[in-house]
């Protein structure tokens, strides 16, 4: 269970959000909404521990994540704006490298790549793939990971319609097996997921 307690983040003397509280339990998906610059990515980064919040705590299974960072990271899957795909390596090599640094016991890279429609492109350097395909390589990790909490920053960017559907199916199977998803997206997800929690970040320009 992920709990966010009284989270407050400032950037350049601007309050992005103050005293934010929410709970995400097993089988739930939470969508963070807000205009550009509202602090969606900052919120995700604060939960991950990549950004130091000004106030507040992140609780994972009853204990603060700063006190059990390693345990928290073992249950975590993150996909950010920059998705750590090296453009000089092939999709296969990129996944192989990812699997060495992340907790997974599924190393069937060919199957994961075929899931995202990259069959036949496994051994081509990523710089010769299109933007959407590049992104699909990163998304193939969703079929390899067996962590509980997924934190996804705009996963649908540059993905076509059938790709979005495929991802939503994968989200559903993850939720059904007791996973949790924290997602930022501009798409309306309420039709696909009935247990969706929504968090709206208001742009508090000028407030301190």
């Amino acid at each position: 269970m992920l709990e966010v307690q009284g989270l407050t983040c400032f950037r350049q003397n601007r309050c992005l959000f103050a005293d934010l509280n929410f709970v995400l339990s097993e089988g739930q998906i939470c969508q963070i909404e807000g205009v550009n610059g509202a602090g969606k990515s900052t919120l995700l980064r604060a939960i991950l521990g990549l950004f130091r919040p000004d106030e507040g705590r992140i609780i994972w299974d009853g204990r603060s994540t700063t006190k059990q960072a390693e345990l928290f990271l073992q249950h975590l899957f993150f996909l950010g704006h920059k998705f750590a795909i090296n453009s000089d390596l092939t999709p296969w090599q990129n996944l192989e490298f990812w699997a060495a640094l992340n907790p997974t016991n599924n190393t069937d890279f060919t199957a994961a790549l075929s899931k995202v429609g990259l069959t036949g492109l496994e051994h081509i350097p990523c710089h010769s793939l299109s933007a959407g395909q590049h992104r699909r390589v990163a998304l193939a990790r969703l079929w390899l990971t067996n962590t509980k909490l997924w934190i996804l920053d705009e996963p649908f960017t540059a993905i076509d319609k059938s790709g979005v559907q495929l991802l939503q199916q994968r989200f559903n199977t993850h939720l059904q097996s007791g996973g949790m998803i924290l997602i930022t997206s501009h798409q309306d997800l309420s039709k696909e997921f009935n247990q969706l929690i929504k968090i709206k970040l208001n742009n508090n320009i000028g407030q301190i």
């Binding site: 991950l48 990549l50 950004f51 130091r52 390693e70 345990l71 990271l73 073992q74 249950h75 975590l76 993150f78 950010g80 704006h81 920059k82 998705f83 750590a84 795909i85 090296n86 453009s87 000089d88 390596l89 090599q93 192989e96 490298f97 990812w98 060495a100 640094l101 992340n102 907790p103 997974t104 016991n105 599924n106 350097p125 079929w143 067996n146 962590t147 509980k148 199977t173 993850h174 097996s177 007791g178 996973g179």
Partner: protein, 233 residues
Amino acid sequence: MNINNRPIQLSYWLAFKSIFMRELKLAWQKPTQIIQPMVFFLIVVTLFPLGISPSPKILQMIGPGVIWIAAILAIMLVVERLFRQDYQEGTIEAWLLSTVPMSLLVGAKLLAGWFISCSVLLLITPILALLMNIEAHVIPALMLSLLIGTPILLFVGAIGNALTVSLNQGGVLLSLLVLPLYIPVLIFSTSLIEAATLNMDYSGQLAILVSMLLVSCFFAPVAIAAALKNTVN
């Protein structure tokens, strides 16, 4: 596909090896990484006889110093882009979110970086030494000083790169930050070579260089990990 409630413990050795192999693969796919510093090194050294004097006596005198300064400049080229691509592509963030300690991952990257770029410099040094008319009995001392000195230069430079990687014009700041730190290495290695030229014992200078190497080996990965963590924040 199923969720694993029992956390999987990652093998540190496998993570280390996979970063090392990844760097080798990248270097193999983009050989400019190896060739550019090497060609730069070669050209800088060959410019000196043209600019100063081709007389064998003068070359013999300035030779080791010239080779060392050229090596420093070549390593600056390597250091400047050490973490840049990884930072831009988000790999640094991914490393920070891995359960493997950041300093170990950075250590693997540094070791691979030394192996890829500095070993080539070492390989062409004997040829350049002949070009500069350096006596045969001095060449082993020159090689030894470069073998111990180049990793120090790379490790210290990498700290500077980690600190400036998020800046657009980091290159200028990097040289201001790092070049002064190279002075002690330069002093002791050239004094080692001078002792070797005079057929004197150079174990004192060697010991100091080795101790500098050990200190930088130990502290650089930790410092770089901390710097990168701050950069991402």
